[in-house]
Amino acid sequence: MTSRQLMHRSEAAVSIELETPGMTLNIGPQHPSTHGVLRLVAKISGERIDEIEPVIGYMHRGYEKLSEVRTYAQITALVNRIDWVSGFANEVPFILGVEKLMGVEVPERAQWIRLILTELARISSHLVFMSSFPLELGASTPLMHMLRDREHILELIEDVTGGRFHPNFNRVGGVKPVYGGGSKTKKQSMDLPAGFFKRTLKAMDLMEQSCRDIDTLVTGNEVVRARTIGIGVIPSDKALEYGLTGPNLRASGVAYDLRKVENYLPYDQIDFDVVSRTGGDSFDRYLVRVGEVRESIKIIRQAVDLIPAGPLQTKVPRVLKVPAGQVYSRAENPKGEFGYYIVSEGGKMPYRLKIRSTSFSNLSILPWILKGQLIPDLVAIMGSFDFVLGDVDR
């Protein structure tokens, strides 16, 4: 590079004239790095972002309003469309909340099936992250590998629930009998499909291989490290102030995992570690997710061993009338704390349903974290957040 002293005088004059004053750059809502329809209005000087204003709401579907005119059973179909890469995990806290309000005891086997499917959803969601994050940094090979491997997980979910993305499998009082279960075939069909556990264990071996693949392809990659280490550092106090949860919070040194602290699903019977890092940068957010896939594999293997036999459902009234009361029910989703504040006035529909979606809080830190960053880093930082716009806009 020619230094300024070595430039010809006229050349130097031109480069001074070309120094740009602040300008406004509009990114999205159709930009590939925005994972859907997020728009960013950035005030920049040169390559540096002075101020950034995310514009959301292009996908606002008004689920909180719609829930007020839906029965509890209908709402499960709505909520697994919030974060569509981990549809099953969204249903769980809602159903657990309704069951708490109604005082329904859920058969143990159903709880374990919920746990296994939640962890499968976690792996599938993290594999999407492990494919899209390198892609945004310019590497397209991991995408092929990870999406190929995710098919194994989606096949398992489809086997059990009938849906790849929108399982709609939870029922108040248990999980749906497989294959529809008409009155004649009910007895045979009220369980998981034959050979499910065997195939699950086989898929877990494949997932271990994908973790090794991603380590070879991405973790040690010099370009990835250069573009993510030390980029977008979030200190833990800022993370807490903006309500970050899940891997984004754990990468900032706060080992907070609802699977450990909240009393839900039989996680307390399973031996697993909370993956956390202390750097708080984009690379740590990536490493936490890779580590969590390994933990989920561990959890699923143990769950397959521990799952008891028994019914999948307990008897509940056909028309659910939920007694009056207010409950907040939360769960550790692939992206963080996912919760529902259910206000029931004793009827078939909730009086109010507040949906605490994870990506909404996780993204609210963008104006703070992107201030002063370079534009190419914007893509690396946003990619490391692993958000889904359906989860932001609800």
Partner: protein, 197 residues
């Protein structure tokens, strides 16, 4: 499955109730309730900001902020059980949570419908901005001190506050929900009421 009868669920619930009682006293709040492991602490409107800031010293995670519209006249959904006894009001709620254990409190403040104004948390909690903007556009609640109460989800020229109970759901007005028929028409709803639950 064998090695963990050490934490049965009852003490867990108790500890949440105890904690809610303790923090209510420490913060000088107006009262608390605990149901279904969900602790609600009621705060006077003018002490809202100070109380939340104080509580964040022990519950550092700002989880979310939202509101409830308690309304006698509902255009959508089901109304409250005893509308005559209901006081028309907004409730603003904010959830703070510990990051070391299961402790978490939902703070509630009541706002009258004539003056739906409350202090903004944005001075100390940056993450509250989006939540307050959402509550502002959805319920019409004013957050004093939040300079940026522009619409978050809704278009700039949108008129009305969609999450108010008095705000009709246009789609439902135009075409009745087909699922409604199923729900009303189920034959066995009376027999099942006294079921297992």
């Amino acid at each position: 499955m064998s090695d963990q009868p050490d934490t049965p669920p009852e003490p867990e619930t108790d500890s949440i109730a105890e904690y809610a009682a303790a923090i209510t006293e420490r913060l000088g709040a107006e009262g608390y309730t605990v149901e279904f492991d969900t602790a609600r602490v009621f705060v006077a409107k003018d002490k809202w900001v100070a109380t939340i800031n104080e509580a964040r010293k022990e519950l550092p995670l700002f989880s979310w902020l939202s509101a409830i519209d308690w309304s006698r006249e509902t255009e959508v959904g089901e109304g409250v059980a005893e509308p005559d006894e209901l006081e028309e009001r907004f409730e603003v709620m904010c959830r703070l949570s510990s990051v070391t254990d299961a402790r978490a409190i939902n703070f509630f403040a009541t706002l009258s419908k004539d003056d739906p104004t409350i202090g903004s948390l944005t001075a100390t909690i940056g993450g509250a901005e989006w939540h307050e903007r959402e509550a502002h556009e959805m319920f019409g609640i004013m957050f004093e001190g939040n300079e940026n109460l522009i619409p978050l989800y809704l278009p700039d020229d949108f008129i009305g506050n969609p999450l108010l109970k008095s705000f009709p759901l246009i789609a439902r007005e135009v075409k009745p929900w087909p699922g409604d028929v199923d729900v009303e028409g189920l034959p066995s709803s009376d027999d099942d009421d006294g079921g297992d639950v």
